[in-house]
């Protein structure tokens, strides 16, 4: 039986972490490669890097980060942010990423999912969806709408329909990121996650709102998610990877055991 996955995402700007990450030894670390290495050593199951570099001519810095991570971190990791073409995707995969994360570019050009899936296989293509709650309407029957530009631009696209379309186009996984829950640390959008997880046959990663280990438990059980993404609860040094996993194991979930590994 598959384990539920604990995934963390790191925002990278110009080769440095957008917000530094604090470890239990209280050191603040701004280096994405060192942070990735420490999370790997602590038993994290997977990593996501979002390149939030503003200028496209600085994207080479990210490629360098990706190849350094790939040389030291032997768990799957994906890279997103600024990937608009199959050639963009190819660069990060050749640098050593396992998967690409497509979001806004795929909303604007759904063919990107199909092209990337054909070129690299479905397992390498993660569709990230930013979603807000709206009143249900003829255009948005599920009451959940796709937004882009970090939640600022509504697209008039129903999240449930987009998830189905993305899976049909060849995405291998879906990240369900609730803009409403994001940053609240009050728990994931369980209803939304479950709605999408039940509508597709590919794995669903819950994102946005995780503040405590029980939030992960909720979304991995009631939310039918296959994996949960955490950011601040890990980055702020409030919880360690083993603490979160031990909690979930204690509640009866199957998690990859990482006994004997270093605590970060």
């Amino acid at each position: 039986m598959l384990s539920k996955r604990l995934i963390s995402c790191l925002d990278v700007r110009n080769g440095r972490l957008a917000k530094s990450v604090k470890f239990v030894d209280t050191r603040d670390i701004g280096d994405p490669v060192e942070t990735a290495r420490r999370y790997y050593a602590a038993g994290l199951d997977e990593l996501v890097f979002y390149d939030i570099t503003a200028s496209s001519d600085e994207r080479d810095i990210m490629i360098d980060v990706v190849s350094q991570v790939a040389a030291q971190v032997f768990i799957p990791f994906s890279v997103g942010g600024g990937l608009r073409t199959v050639a963009d995707c190819s660069r990060v995969l050749l640098a050593g990423a396992e998967k690409v994360n497509v979001n806004s570019a795929a909303v604007k050009n759904p063919q990107l999912i199909a092209d990337a899936s054909l070129a690299f296989g479905a397992q390498a293509v993660v569709l990230s969806m930013d979603i807000v709650r709206v009143p249900a309407s003829a255009a948005i029957p599920s009451g959940y709408e796709i937004v882009i530009n970090g939640g600022r631009t509504p697209m008039g696209l129903d999240a449930l329909a987009w998830a189905r379309q993305g899976a049909a186009l060849g995405a291998g996984e879906i990240v369900v990121n609730s803009i409403d829950a994001d940053g609240t640390r009050a728990g994931y959008e369980v209803r939304l996650t479950r709605l999408i997880a039940d509508a597709v046959t590919i794995p669903v990663i819950a994102s946005g709102g995780g503040g405590q280990p029980e939030h992960l438990y909720e979304v991995l059980t009631d939310g039918h998610a296959d994996a949960a993404l955490v950011a601040s609860m890990l980055h702020f040094g409030e919880y360690t990877v083993p603490e979160i996993k031990d909690y979930l194991l204690g509640r009866g979930l199957k998690m990859r055991r990482t006994a004997g590994q270093a605590v970060a």
Binding site: F74, P76, G172, A227
Partner: protein, 206 residues
């Protein structure tokens, strides 16, 4: 020197980076002569079995791998590289290398909660000991990504199993050939242990 067979089907950089990290010399090659003469061979793969076999044949790598196997060269197959060493794959109804008798079948879980591809970390139960498993605890978890699973004709070829609605072989082997359905290069310390053990393996299964 470990030859990593390049057949345009996989994340070769991952395997090579893992070997670099372990201090093991390797080269990525699609030259059948290099494969024939290699001290040991890693045969990786992500992708479609039909595409993989077409590339292997076009390059003459199918014959080179069969020759290396016959000559006793230690060979490690992973993922699609493990699938195409069997005789047949349901994926694209493909005739494969046939180094081990059997085929590959698609997962068809009865339970809708079990997704295909089988993607993520899953426990591997050791059925039979093997030198490449030295130091790997029974029940350790490895990273899998696949929609088809190994079905060797002879249960004696199964060294470890995992479970996804059906108990399926996670490691199969015969003589100087060992093959894992999971990605050792993405499976953390236990995966690196398998790669390291393989680099020191004589090619004898016990």
């Amino acid at each position: 020197m470990i030859a990593i067979v390049d057949y345009k089907a996989g994340n070769l950089t991952s395997v090579q980076r893992a070997l670099d990290h372990l201090g093991l010399a390797s080269c990525v090659t699609l030259d059948p002569d290099v494969v024939r003469r290699a001290e040991r061979i890693i045969f990786p793969g992500v992708g479609h079995a039909g595409t993989a076999m077409a590339v292997l044949k076009e390059r003459g790598l199918d014959v080179a791998l069969q020759a290396a196997y016959a000559a006793g060269t230690p060979i490690l197959g992973t993922c699609v590289g493990a699938q195409v060493i069997l005789g047949h794959s349901e994926e694209g109804d493909t005739t494969c290398l046939g180094l081990i008798a059997g085929g590959c079948e698609r997962f068809r879980p009865n339970d809708a909660a079990l997704k295909v591809p089988h993607m993520g970390w899953n426990e591997v139960s050791v059925v039979k000991d093997h030198p490449v498993l030295r130091g790997v605890p029974d029940g350790a978890e490895f990273y899998f990504v696949h929609s088809y699973y190994l079905r060797p004709a002879d249960a004696a070829n199964v060294y470890a199993t995992s479970d996804h609605g059906v108990t399926f072989p996670a490691i199969i082997g015969q003589r100087n050939l060992i093959a894992t359905q999971f990605h050792s290069e993405k499976s953390g310390p236990v995966g690196l242990a398998i790669l390291s053990n393989f680099a020191g393996w004589s090619g004898s299964p016990c």
